[in-house]
Symmetry: C2
């Protein structure tokens, strides 16, 4: 029985925990929940129904540093859902490093640690015989890493580009179809809960750049950092520029790309008929393949679909840990 822990128990963690209640018969039980204040551990498995609220009010809650739970080996699989810090990767980086160093499998939705230390963490995982999975970090509703790992093996990825940030895509979509200014579209997105109160990382292209770094390192074998990405956000995009594009059957989208060793994020003209041209909060990722040609995937970027990405990674780890050979 795989003992699973969630570190960073917020909105996403609660949604995930609910799904994991059905996993006991699949050989996985949830034994650990941790947040920045401490952790809750029940070796026989937690009863999730009573834990959808704040865990620190639970009688079994221990107000100690969550690292203690990792050091004491209270989980075989750690789901790291810490808030993203793109500049130092913390606190997720330390948790992931510690867990992998003990041979504990890790599934994460936190981009920070991967942007800061991709090669270090993947090498550590390999040397310890542990898995490090991060499907949820790029295009939550698009199984991009799983697809590449399993389904593109007979071919070669030449380049990747995509619309990787739902907030900016929502804003650009509203500007295109309704003629809104960027400020107005942003206010609307904030009211709908689609943009953070401080939307700088989204609008400035940094969130997209992080995803480009992860794609480049994971799928093209590169060793890139955030500073290797040429980044331009959407703050200079005007309604006039979008109108001019529209008259040519095009629009402006924030496109992240990696190819020929070069990484970039910038507003680009995209044909309205192009497969990559998705609207609203949708994400799209296009692979240019040597034999297959262009393959485009379109899906939700965040929210509930991120849970499916975490579940897909967890399924993979269960299959690796419990059966020696994968079924067809």
């Amino acid at each position: 029985m795989i003992r699973c822990g969630i570190i960073g128990y917020g909105f996403l963690g609660r949604r995930l925990a609910k799904h994991l209640t059905g996993y006991r018969e699949r050989g996985l039980k949830l034994t650990l929940l941790a947040n920045s204040k401490g952790y809750l551990h029940v070796e026989d498995g937690l009863d999730i129904e009573g834990l959808m609220e704040e865990i620190s009010t639970h009688p079994g809650f221990r107000a100690s540093h969550p690292m203690e739970a990792i050091e004491n080996g209270l989980a075989d699989l750690l789901i790291v859902l810490t808030p993203t810090n793109v500049y130092n990767g913390e606190p997720g980086l330390t948790y992931i490093r510690e867990a992998l160093g003990r041979g504990i499998d890790v599934v994460t939705a936190d981009k920070g640690p991967l942007v800061i230390a991709f090669r270090e963490l993947t090498s550590l995982a390999r040397s310890m015989g542990a898995s490090l999975c991060y499907e949820a970090t790029v295009g939550g509703g698009i199984p991009v890493f799983s697809l590449a790992r399993h389904s593109l093996r007979g071919d070669r990825i030449l380049s990747i580009r995509g619309i990787l940030n739902g907030t900016t895509n929502y804003i650009l979509t509203r500007m295109h179809f309704e003629g809104l200014t960027l400020d107005l579209a942003l206010q609307e997105a904030q009211m709908m809960g689609l943009a953070e109160r401080d939307p700088g990382l989204d609008l400035g292209g940094i969130d997209s750049a992080c995803k480009v770094v992860i794609l480049a390192n994971a799928l093209l074998g590169l060793d890139k950092k955030l500073e290797d990405v040429k980044v331009k956000g959407i703050t200079q995009v005007t309604p006039d520029a979008i109108l001019a594009a529209k008259e040519l059957g095009m629009t402006i989208k924030l496109v992240g790309s990696v190819g020929d060793g070069k990484l970039s994020v910038a507003p680009r003209l995209v044909r309205l008929n192009h497969p990559l041209c998705v609207h609203g909060t949708l994400n799209a990722i296009q692979f240019k393949m040597e034999v297959m040609g262009d393959l485009t995937l379109i899906g939700r970027g965040a929210g509930e679909s991120t849970v499916s990405a975490l579940l897909s990674d967890i399924e993979w780890i269960i299959s690796q840990r419990t059966s020696p050979r994968e079924g067809h």
Copy 2:
């Protein structure tokens, strides 16, 4: 060393054979090529460079029924590229049945056998411990079965719909953008080699219906035949109907779908902004997932991309036959 044979050695077979020359170090050699007139067998592996033309002129060619090669166990993996007969599945069905019955792995691009005998063949494969792979039968450049097998496991497919036939999509695209009549667009497609001289199976929706049957059986666990699909082709679609759709920001596409146990193919109104709305010869397949939401894949439907589908299946079989546990 896996001994690989190709049965139905035409255009697609030659393209594939060329790619397989690089597979010897991966543990696969091409030992058998067969067409309707006979077969060529070299146990040490064929030199493909000299075999890009008609194989029957080769000194080693044996003018016997190709079944003889299967019965004599001249391959461990058989690639079946026979022409599709949707009404009786032959000749591919007999070859596949015979091969699987001997525990020989099969990769096929022939829809006929799967439409006629999906459950029989998949059961036979399972009971003999052999693999039956058919990525190339639906959306050549879209790894739909591989994706579903590996990447959608933590979730549940509720329904599937798609633009599954490149010929009709090309015709409808030309009607939409250029205002051509169906007859004119068809003539153009034929001149460009995008439509058969007898385009009835494409235009009548039968080719799409075959793909819907395979998707339904393979991915939704159903047991359906061609006669279970409610089929309407595009022959009644007029320029006026497309113009009327266009004025509403929509177009008409030939959409195949399966959901709630019901299978259909029909011309449908699709919003121009919708992810499924792809143009030219592109194919698109959309999964409605329980947790993930809608996931859409867009890629080439045929041609060189079909080779990548065959290679993906071959890679899978190599991984199953040569390593007990798949790498991450």
